[in-house]
Amino acid sequence: MTDVSSEQELLEFLYACPVGLIECNAAGEIGLMNPHAMQHLLPLAGARDASNLFSAFEQHAPELRSMAATFEPATGKICDGHRIFVELGLGRQGLTPKVLACTLVKLGPDRLMATLADISQQVVQENRLRQADTWFATLLDDAQGYAALTITPKGEIASANSCFLRQTGHAPADVTGHNLADVLSTDVPGDDMRLDEQLVIAGREGWHLQEGWQRRADGERYWCQRLVVARSSADSLKPRRFSVVLRDVPRREAATADLRRLLTCDHLTGAANRRHFSQMMAKAQGRWRDLREPLSLIALDLDHFKAVNDSHGHSAGDTLLCRVTEVCTALLPPSGIFARLGGEEFGVLLPRHRLEQAMALAEQLRAEIATVAVETSGGVLQVTASLGCATLEEADGSIDALIALADKRLYAAKRAGRNQVFDIRSDVA
């Protein structure tokens, strides 16, 4: 075999390789990459620099830069199959949202190797499997330890089995006739359904299953699967009774707080990441659809942030991003989610918030961000933010349209001079 033909072969191999391969330096400047990698990178980079790995991913995976920067060993795997959620909504024309898996390996002090693969289909399948798994586990797992109740459509307990006492500490005789929601005293973090909300869905779809924390009569917290099933009734469209099954289960996510944090949080700031935000948004959309529960979104972008990075360096910029996240999360209601969506771009998801409430919070966020000051060698660094609010109602229930509308208002706030919340009353467009 001659040299020419082996080079040709190698080129053909790399051109046709169905996985993205990238080699870059520590700053992300790409030296070598194959076409498959560019196919993913170029549409993401947009106006940004497609020849720098970190710049190209600034909007979709800003954590890559800080993950590489904080990786201390001289060589080794920085991340393995790190998931990058490319689209926040349901994607173009309702197609599968695109998810990329990125593996980053450090080969030397100034040499990184990355692979990119499209795992969108795999993620869809995983979600489907997880749902089926939870459902089957509920049916098939050890038949001990079910607390079974019958309740009326209003949530009143008609009967409860003896296991209910063992599990919750409440004697069936004492609770019959009471409202189950009062007895359960569920901890409701943002994304859990209240019992009455579950009843609405079970009434329509036949059943609804969720996992979450519950409290026993003595106050102890336990992880609980709660299945609500509508019982059929012969003469009416409305079910007369619901069966409720409570199971005391080990937390399936087995998630130590660390793992959970790793999966849901932005590496640098600790704000929620795009992946988590996207999931929570889909959940909230379901509740808007099923229960007509209001949902608002605030889009937030720091003003002139590129200049901060350019003149004070990325590390000062990073500190500023962390401080902004700190002050903003402190202002958030319990069910709110503050997420870093891109370089200096944040999103605030506000379930059960109407537009006025979201606007009021946005104004608080704006004022608080303006007070943040970071000491640097080059003086005190300050920043302002522009914000836009929108509700899912205004977007006719479409997440893509919701994001687009909040973004549009955010940019209107920028055009109107920055450091402000877009005033909805002046929206004539």
Binding site: Y15, G31, L32, N34, P35, M38, P43
Partner: protein, 104 residues
């Protein structure tokens, strides 16, 4: 235009059928990409040869637009190096062959 004239052009010329199978691949493009035209012709262009154009910015446009004559700035990976180029996308209704012209 003869094959010789096409090879002498200062920019890359790729002609392909509606099913994206490459029909012509001129010498300039062969030199830039390092690929022998003999191994490229007859192969699906966007799937095998130019995966980096297999997105909504290039391949999708040939799908969507019957009439196409547009110049777009782009970054290719010629010999695996990110290379800034200008692409001219050409398609005419009624003519089966489409073209991508590539200028460095």
């Amino acid at each position: 235009m003869s094959e010789r004239e096409r090879d002498a052009l200062p920019f890359g010329v790729v002609g392909f059928a509606a099913d994206t199978t490459v029909q012509t691949y001129n010498a300039t493009e062969a030199r830039l990409s390092g690929l022998d035209p003999a191994t490229v012709v007859g192969v699906p262009f966007f799937e095998v040869v130019a995966q980096c154009m297999n997105n909504f910015m290039v391949a999708q446009r040939f799908e969507d637009e019957a009439e196409l004559d547009d110049i777009v700035p782009y970054v290719l990976t010629l010999r695996m190096r990110p290379t800034k180029v200008r692409l001219r996308l050409l398609a005419t209704a009624g003519i089966l062959r489409r073209y991508v012209l590539i200028e460095r």
